[in-house]
Symmetry: C2
Subunit: 349 residues, 2 copies
DNA sequence: ATTCAAAATGTTAACGCTAACATTTTGAAT
DNA sequence: ATTCAAAATGTTAGCGTTAACATTTTGAAT
């Protein structure tokens, strides 16, 4: 068992390779970094010796010199469902191709934790951050300062717009309006809305879209039919339960959910109440979660290109880090309505 | 627009705070690190000034001194499906509670990329690594050297056992045997197997379990009914297609898939061939993917506690890093058979 | 007032690397 | 053989921090 000082790693340094060969550390540095002006024989000797000694460059030291870590922070509100993993896959792919890596952090939709992890990422001197924020709309100062400090930031999906950072997202409001109008066109009039917290960007945008659709079509927006809760299955289940407690005649005939997990939870609540989807209550979601076409009945939803969103956000961040192109940009990726069975229809009956 | 040198970050240093206050950098260091022997008034002055100046400690420099990064590398073969995101959630939770963060890397099940990312993680001087390896069973030397170098490693799910690193996984072989015997007990005799590459630990273990079950029950293992392919939906689809090309009388009456995604792909292939599950071909999986109870028919599978597996692996790694407890340990988490409808039954017909 | 240990603060060097500059070596042209 | 620019190699200092040791200040006990 090789003894070792617990606080010191025992890895080989440039200097040790240099000493072994009787050259200077600088020459070794040049050799391992493919710098010019190194004799090819010297280089060969050095690389061989370095390999034999198990030399691995110390990027911590290198970062201290260069002020670059080739690491980007990724801040997401949850890891498990299908949307964020797909986004992360897109991010990873782009970032890896540019020789960066990602420090992944999860905020559990908690702004205090969000601030905490961002401070940690700052301390670790990431070259930039990709953030899907759980931030309240009334507290931008934190991010304004972060951006002012020069940290490259790209928001994605849950954006804070127009405070100096780029934003990659989908046309939440328009898509939400579109799917609501789809229900309206199918003949539904009494439509409820299962919202996430409206202080989150997507919460507000999607709710606005719902409202616009209703108003534009002369339908009443009934506050009793709008329930705000979390962005996950449990949030949807509990919200729907509340709607179902209303007297039958007051209940919505159709429901728009802020995202698919909420819709799934709501569907469970509807089934638990022994009601049928869509015959008793129709429902639509937003995300096109991996489960959307598997639930019973399959969920009508808005397809959000998660993987592409991740790729685009990562490209934009790396461009920002490398100061290429227009620095600040708001990008809206295209969504499309995916009509399945959960929305049913009131026509031709 | 604040001008800045692209290669220098403009963050405030200890020394700058010190100069501003006319004290030494060391005193500032002590103040911000809560070291003893700092006058409480001095400390207060320093902390206030540091805050006002926007000081954030530079962990890169700190790491260079301490040889600790409070970062662990996580190496997984894919990001998108339900199993690994759940594992990562477990990892993140534990690691965060100990003030570590994770550098997440994706190998796409490619051993060359696996080596590449591990080299990058070494260069970044992570304090340890959590690895789910796509490694060939005949090439342990790479990992043996990595472990010998003193890098704390914990394998999870796809382990390389008994080469000096801990391993957290489920009882793959026994569980695979159990689910195969479940099929046998339901009356199936002609059973096929959709395998992942057997050079991956779980590939071999699960296949062994299948074989043991067959042999123990006096059933023939027919090589033509065993197809090896990838661990994902497409792998399962293509593998099943091959089985379906057999003359009807040679086809398996039931199929064991190495994991749920492979089972999902196979189910699509079966449906595309206009056959019924389980009436024409029964099928079982392994994982208890989030989709397993949603597909039609719901998939009989082995529940693998992904989140707990992630938590356990992370705890073990941090214990190893901090040199607590027995260093090397093989842990098998408990699985349970989840019987749904895809396995059907040949009994009482 | 003096003493002196404890508390507070300061100085130096080192972590591993590379930019910037300095020196030595090489080898083609005379 | 000498010259001298180009190529190869070396030296120094600094990135931001802290461990280890050095010095100064404090204040209770005399």
């Amino acid at each position: 068992m090789p003894k070792k000082n617990p606080n010191k790693n025992n890895s080989v340094t440039l200097k040790e390779v240099a000493a072994e060969l009787g050259v200077s550390a600088m020459t070794v540095s040049r050799a391992v970094n493919n710098s010019p002006n190194v004799d090819s024989k010297t280089k060969k000797r050095i690389l061989e010796k370095a390999k034999k000694m198990g030399y691995t460059p110390n990027l911590v030291a290198k970062s201290l010199v260069s002020s670059k870590t080739y690491t980007v922070g990724v801040v997401i509100p949850e890891i498990s469902h299908s949307f964020f993993p797909d986004v992360v896959r897109g991010i990873e792919e782009v970032v890896d191709s540019k020789a960066y890596q990602i420090l992944l952090t999860n905020t559990s939709d908690n702004f205090e934790k969000e601030k905490k992890v961002i401070e940690a990422l700052k301390a670790k001197r990431v070259d930039g951050m990709l953030i899907s924020s759980s931030l309240m709309t009334d507290n931008f100062s934190y991010y304004k300062e972060l951006i002012k400090s020069g940290m490259p930031i790209v928001f994605f999906d849950r954006c804070i717009e127009n405070i100096g950072a780029s934003c990659i997202k989908v046309n939440d409001q328009a898509a939400s309006q579109q799917i609501t109008e789809h229900l309206i066109n199918l003949g539904y009039k009494k439509i409820g809305y299962l919202s996430g917290p409206k202080k989150v960007s997507i919460g507000k945008a999607r709710f606005d879209g719902f409202n616009i659709a209703m108003i534009k079509n002369g339908l009443p927006v009934d506050d009793k039919l709008i329930i705000e809760n979390g962005y996950n299955e449990k949030g949807g289940y509990d919200a729907m339960k509340k709607l179902l407690k209303l007297p039958a005649k007051d209940r919505p005939r159709a429901v728009v959910a802020v995202n698919d997990p909420v819709a799934f939870g709501a569907m469970d609540a509807i089934k638990d109440a022994n009601l049928r989807i869509p015959e008793d209550i129709a429902i639509v979601g937003f995300t096109n979660d991996i489960r959307a076409n598997l639930v019973t009945p399959p969920l009508t939803t808005v397809n959000q290109p998660a993987y592409e969103l991740g790729k685009k956000a990562a490209s934009k961040l790396i461009d920002t880090i490398q100061e290429k192109g227009d620095l600040v940009e708001n990008v809206e990726l295209i969504t499309n309505l995916v009509v399945r069975e959960s929305c049913g229809s009131l026509l031709y009956k």
